[in-house]
């Protein structure tokens, strides 16, 4: 494996009871890149994200992160080494307030061992939390219970919770799905600018080609569990296979 890449996969494969969901996936990601992963439903995009972040164990193949083999690690181990994610359906704590959600995320990323027995609500953490809420434009909603928020707000919170651990690689699974047309560019502007500032490498699964064209450096297209194109957005979106199997026109 080449150490110039932050993340590399080698012949990655995942099958469920003989049905192949992902096959021969060889991808190399440079530090700081923003990559869009596209493909029709069932193309293997989320399976790929799930394998990288430890939710699914690959049937075969290898995943290397900063030169180390991380194949089959557990989700919390992925988080510890700096591979974090957000979800297609926001995974937040619905009965808690926005601020409590973020405070828990920050607390778990900053405190270790016995420090976790210290009160959650401490002044320093609270101030840091307010800054992040402000950055993600959800400070006004800080005291609201998450279940009362719009999908867009929940997505922002979900992403903010993934980011507070200062990930080296962040995988976003359909960050704008379920978000209104009016909200989606706003959300992506906030998220991408925040992540660019921190130099985080981002891979995001997306169906919306306007979003892909506008925000990514590189596109990886999936079809039937395989990578059919890996190129710049301009070239990828004109690629015959992408047009035929992904864009459908």
């Amino acid at each position: 494996m080449n150490n110039n890449f932050i993340l590399q996969t080698k012949d990655l494969q995942k099958s469920f009871s003989g049905i192949i969901a992902a096959e021969n996936i060889n991808i190399s990601v440079k530090e700081g890149e923003i990559i869009g992963i596209i493909g029709a439903n069932g193309a293997g995009k989320t399976v790929f994200v799930n394998m990288i972040t430890g939710y699914l164990k690959p049937t075969s193949g290898k995943i290397h992160f900063l030169g180390n083999d991380i194949t089959g690690i557990k989700p919390r181990e992925a988080t510890h080494i700096g591979v974090c994610r957000s979800f297609q359906v926001s995974q937040v704590f619905m009965t808690m307030t926005v601020k409590q959600n973020l405070m828990i995320a920050m607390s778990l990323s900053k405190k270790k061992g016995g420090q976790l027995l210290l009160p959650l609500e401490d002044e320093k953490l609270s101030k840091e939390c307010d800054k992040i809420l402000d950055l993600y434009k959800i400070k006004k909603q800080g005291d609201l219970i998450v279940s009362t928020l719009s999908q867009g707000m929940r997505k922002l919170l979900d992403i903010a919770m993934a980011v507070v651990g200062n990930p080296k690689v962040l995988l976003l699974d359909e960050p704008t799905s379920g978000v209104s047309v009016e909200e989606k560019f706003g959300i992506m502007d906030i998220v991408i600018s925040a992540l660019k500032k921190s130099g985080t490498t981002v891979l995001f699964v997306e169906h919306d080609m306007e979003i892909v064209e506008r925000y990514v450096d590189r596109v990886i297209a999936f079809y039937q569990g395989q990578v059919i194109c890996d190129d710049t957005p301009k070239k990828a979106l004109k690629n015959k296979k992408v047009i035929q199997y992904v864009l459908g026109s």
Binding site: R76, F93, I104, Q115, L116, L117, P119, G165
Partner: protein, 319 residues
Amino acid sequence: MFKGILKDQSVQTSIGVIFILLIFGSFILPEWMSNNFMYGMSRGLAVLGLMILWRTNLVSFGHALYYGFGAYAVALCQKFFGVTDILLRLLIAVAAAGLLGFALGFILRKYREIFFAMLSLAFSMVLYGLLAKAEFLGSTDGMSISPSTFFGTELGRIALFNFIGLVVILAIIFAQAYLRSSLGHLTTAIQDNEIRVEYLGYSVEKAIHIKYVISACLAGGAGGLMAASLGQVDPDSMVLWSVSGELVFVTIMSGLGNILAPFIGAVIFEFIRTYAFEWAPQAWQMIIGGTLLAIIFFSPGGLWSLFQKLNFLRKKNNE
């Protein structure tokens, strides 16, 4: 962990209420009533343990396992080592139940919902079977416990009552400090979304295990104090499934809203049971069942939610 804990409103209220109970129970109320307070406060420790678990949506139908284990640990230490000091008895009960909880926690932390509940029950019935058959432990007759001492001086009923009150206050302070900590907040977080907790980098199983051991320690302490108060331990009144059922009953009746609720609920339960026995000796269970039905139908959040509603109405009227 305990920084600023005495400024916490729940802790302040709890300490105030327990002090009032201690003063009334020690100097004003008749013996049978202060005994009910004593039993209620002891049992309340086990209910507090169940409440901590319940906040993660984990209901244990077998917590009498730890309650009984703590009680029998006190009895065995008296039998084999002559331990009668109340402080030692309490520490032994808590440590024995905690160790058992730590060992069984490795199995239970993998289960959720009905499987968690029934597995707890299964373990408690195994202990019940062992105790009921073991002649050297008194079999179904159980074992008697001699009066407790404190640094060599025999403790009277009132002194024991006050000691239990003090233990309850310390347990409340500890439990509230835990619940307001980052680890304690995972209680609700795990209930809401286990996947997210894992992706925040913390092991859900580990968090549940810690919670389970805390809960076992509290139940063990409750059993140890009950053994010292009653002067008797036996499988039917300490480990049988119906004892676990009573603890679950009191948890539902109390509600999960406040750290004091388990103790208020447990004391009220003692009084309901006493009066039910007196009014309908042949059908007292019917009164207990009716009470539970009334709680579920009219105040599903438990007695504490009634206090909250009353408080809300009072504030509204003042406005």
